[in-house]
Symmetry: C2
Subunit: 140 residues, 2 copies
DNA sequence: TCCTAAAAAGACCTAAATAGTCTACTTATG
DNA sequence: CATAAGTAGACTATTTAGGTCTTTTTAGGA
């Protein structure tokens, strides 16, 4: 239950690179892996859920590779994180109702739910197009 | 590198209960553990870093126990999370400068730094007094 | 048509973090 | 001085994260 693991971090770097290179041609993972210093076999495992989420399209065979399935403006960082971390919520107790028997009386649950919302709102507000653009200071 | 583990969740429940019961009398962990359904031995291990962080005070001997070291209004959820998770940042690559050799060129780093800030600002904005009060909807 | 480059799929492995337990010891109050 | 409490540290189990290996499938080009 880690919020941001290397899955999200590697995956986002892959997608930002694809966004930068445009959607015209398919790009093979090996070249991305080399440029980004990410193990190719590991990166290839991240591609599967990204395809399932409708973020990537793949083309097999020679001259094959990956390209974005949608425009960079239409893919948010939240889409990527959810596809790769495989859950919508960062906490068991806020995820499914009934996960915690105390949820009715628990005074801390709203705090974690609120945190969840803050995180999701932030990640939803950044698109791949934003990320691919010039270095932006999101901390302001 | 998990953002919110049972350490933070259990620890916050302990502190909220102490905040609710006031600072007048020391409260023993055993009774908190029973009411909150938390293994007492595990809870007792969380007390140590909370003491070190100046959040809890302990009193030994018969009629001993724990009480808050500061007023509930002056303890934020961020204080608690940092004391229990033992780190200030949720990501290696944003934590220490130089942790990632690519940080100069990395287009995704500012996104994670911004996330870090958003989370810290949120947690810093909630005090134990807030949490102990009536159920608040922090998601609004 | 065969060769090669690329994705697909799934088993497998290792290390680290998390959650929790056990035991022995120390301290303070009634 | 008995007892209820905290202190300290080793120990264990489970899960997750990170990464690797192998085989198969697909498509383009000489």
């Amino acid at each position: 239950m880690s919020l941001i693991t290397t899955r999200s971090r590697y995956g986002l770097r892959l997608l930002v690179e694809l966004a930068e290179r445009g959607m015209a041609q398919a790009i093979d993972l090996g070249s991305v892996a080399r440029r980004q210093d990410i193990p190719e076999l590991y990166l290839s495992k991240l591609a599967t859920p990204l395809k399932a989420a409708g973020i990537l399209r793949s083309e097999r065979g020679a001259k094959g590779g990956y390209r974005l399935a949608r425009r960079p403006e239409d893919i948010t960082v939240l889409d990527v994180v959810e596809a790769l971390e495989g859950r919508s919520s960062l906490l068991e107790c806020t995820g499914e109702p009934g996960a915690c028997v105390r949820s009715g009386e628990c005074k801390t649950l709203p705090i974690w739910s609120g945190l969840d919302k803050v995180i999701q709102d932030y990640l939803r507000g950044i698109s791949l197009a934003d990320a691919a653009g010039a270095a932006i200071d999101y901390t302001i």
